[in-house]
Symmetry: D2
Subunit: 133 residues, 4 copies
């Protein structure tokens, strides 16, 4: 799936693909995946209960990443103010999830890989803000 | 489904049900339904293309209402700052969707009913903020 | 939110509201809520790890209930065969989740209440099949 | 995001990564994206109303792809029968969406690209069934 090619074919886009926004929606979709796996993997760890806060932040982050992907992908009509604030909030949720996962990164590879995805998504969201106005 | 009874049975709630937050998640779930129906009904109207902005705001509002319901319902662990900002953003998305739907309320009953749900959800979200800290 | 009134205003419905389908989408939305709360509450129980299978079935059931609500609510265009099979699958996921929750119903009120919602949604889905053809 | 690496770190996986299932969840997530873009792009086309059935199948397919991704990614606990039927249903929804999109593929690049994603996801789902038992 080439995320840019299909957006470029949208009749209202006309060359203004907003590539950093496309990258942010791509990063958000993949971050949702990492958080979804990490929450499920934490639940199967022997010390699952000690990971309850990690599971919570994973799940919240996955929900916000999916919402950011969904709104950020729409190009018909406009909802700029809401989209901007959602992207900012997604970056914050990613940062908080990354910070929690990083505390367990030495012990659990799923936390380490999830933290990486969250940091990438946080950066992609911040970069995308320049294109959402 | 009694939204309050099942939350009251959560082991971490211990009497602190936060009833206005429960009402906000209930309003958000029902507002997501109204927006989902309104978007689909607009698409079937003879002048669908004139309703493209209404469909956009309906869809964005439905996504944010579902995210608000999902995060606002979790009681294991904590994510207060993100939840607060999401509830505020949901209230804003509801207000913008209501304003657009109200422009078509005289013509389309689904827009009138959707605007009602959005206004109720906006108010419920604002009331819930007092309990999220 | 009156689920029937807003569907009745859809331009393609013209009186054919399919009330049992509306009831099934309503039951599915509320069952998604019950499963979402139950999964989160199980995670906070002292014996969370013993409830991992319950959490899994809750989460899967919530996902299928939301998908059933989403597809079952659309009235523009047609996708009858897919919708029928999804409603049947939702009924099965509800039955399996109910059976698991019933095993813990004496111990956890959230499991008892979730099982009730799953049984109601299962019945509503089966009743709705008569209207989806 | 390496979809395989993070699944391999799940404590219950222990080498049994089920690579074709991972590929199916990856294809489903990307197909959900293509369908989401195609539905939104169809809405912006001058003849949007003639594309209402395409939008409907896109939206239904996106919902089922996201559900398939979500259930197919979980590795804690078991829900084999429901997962199998969901993957089969996802393949069917992809096939139907592809057939509709292919009718407009000569006119709209988003329909052509969406049909490609649907065909890939359909094939990936069918291949994954060998690993879900």
């Amino acid at each position: 799936m080439d995320f840019r090619a299909i957006i470029a074919s949208h009749p209202d886009v006309k060359g203004a693909t907003a590539d950093r926004l496309i990258e942010a929606t791509h990063a958000a979709l993949h971050c949702a995946h990492a958080c979804h796996v990490c929450a499920d993997a934490c639940l199967a760890e022997p010390m699952a209960q000690d990971l309850a806060q990690c599971i919570r932040l994973d799940q919240d982050c996955a929900d916000l990443c999916l919402a950011t992907w969904s709104l950020g992908t729409r190009r018909t009509g406009q909802n700029v103010e809401v989209l901007r604030q959602l992207i900012e909030l997604c970056a914050k949720a990613c940062r908080m999830c990354a910070e929690e996962c990083e505390r367990h990164a030495g012990m659990h590879d799923h936390c380490r890989l999830c933290a990486d995805s969250c940091r990438k998504c946080e950066a992609a969201c911040r970069a995308a803000l320049a294109e959402v106005h």
